[in-house]
Symmetry: C2
Subunit: 158 residues, 2 copies
DNA sequence: CCTTTCAGTTGCGATATGCAACCTAGTATG
DNA sequence: CATACTAGGTTGCATATCGCAACTGAAAGG
């Protein structure tokens, strides 16, 4: 595959642009961070994040539309609405945490509060890293972009 | 304290907000994806991403200001400028890859092309996960948010 | 009833984005 | 040398999105 072809593929069918369509807007990550931290109700998000009410309304709606949050009426108090993460939403945790760790390391320079700990050992979670299939840590030097078809041909040849 | 300062504090107190202040704008992640895949020059970014020239100019400038990209004139052709990732920028790889993996799994439904492989084993990299300090995979059930001061008190009590 | 709470919606000005045209320095061509 | 072309922007202007404050409407609570 030529370099030009590789680049074209890269930009037409990448999971990153697909993901950004859904969670790439201004407040989406912060709303999700709130949800991971236990925020459930509109007013909780609004006062905690300081986000404008109309924007919050719009973002919650989009996250629900995309199946990242579930919106349930509270049976005990019919004014209240409960937003909570779906499995699809919970699966964004590595993204949120790696972003947070990067921000702590390179921008704020210190760990934020509160800390996410292993419930049993009470120790903070490890830094999120890129690993090989057999669990070794990989840096950029250890990796290479390969076309899927080329990779299959390699495997067949071996 | 002015409203602007209040907002600034709000933005810097959490690693996620701090990170988003720098890389949270519309095209930033896509520009970084390009950089990770070898794009170096203004025109390369522009034609491959289809981004407006003024926005690209502004984003590249911001990424350089924040030390995520380095901007060097090309000594061989003094019209050309080379943008490349700094260590701070390269350290965003787990964020980009976990976002990509999430998008592949939940939005596009299939792995994108090309694939990032371990250069030596030729196998695709592993899914990015959250791990304990001793390397066990952690799910949300295994974790807990703890105030840092409370955690210290726990440690002292033990 | 009367008040408060919750989850929004509406109107409107400020900000950000996208597009096309233009600009400047440097390079290739004849 | 004159001319054309290239790389990396900038400028003007239309549109889209955001943020704030005020308002709404249904449901509790007293």
């Amino acid at each position: 595959m030529s370099r030009a072809e590789q680049l074209r593929d890269l930009f037409t069918e990448c999971g990153i642009s697909a993901a950004l369509e859904v969670v790439g807007e201004r407040w989406s990550f912060l709303i999700l961070r709130g949800a991971f931290n236990g925020l459930r109700h509109f007013e909780e998000f609004q006062t905690n994040l300081g986000i404008a009410r109309n924007i919050l309304s719009n973002r919650l709606g989009r996250l629900v539309e995309h199946g990242i949050l579930r919106r349930d009426p509270d049976p005990a108090d019919r004014r209240k609405v409960t937003y909570r993460l779906t499995e699809k939403g919970r699966d964004l945790l590595p993204v949120l945490l790696s972003l947070r760790q990067w921000g702590e390391r390179w921008i704020s320079g210190m760990p934020s509060n509160p800390v996410l700990v292993d419930r049993y050992t009470r120790k903070p979670i490890a830094p999120i890293i890129v690993q090989s299939a057999d669990g070794r840590e990989l840096s950029l030097r250890d990796m290479e972009w390969v076309d899927r078809d080329d990779l299959e041909r390699e495997a067949d040849a071996a």
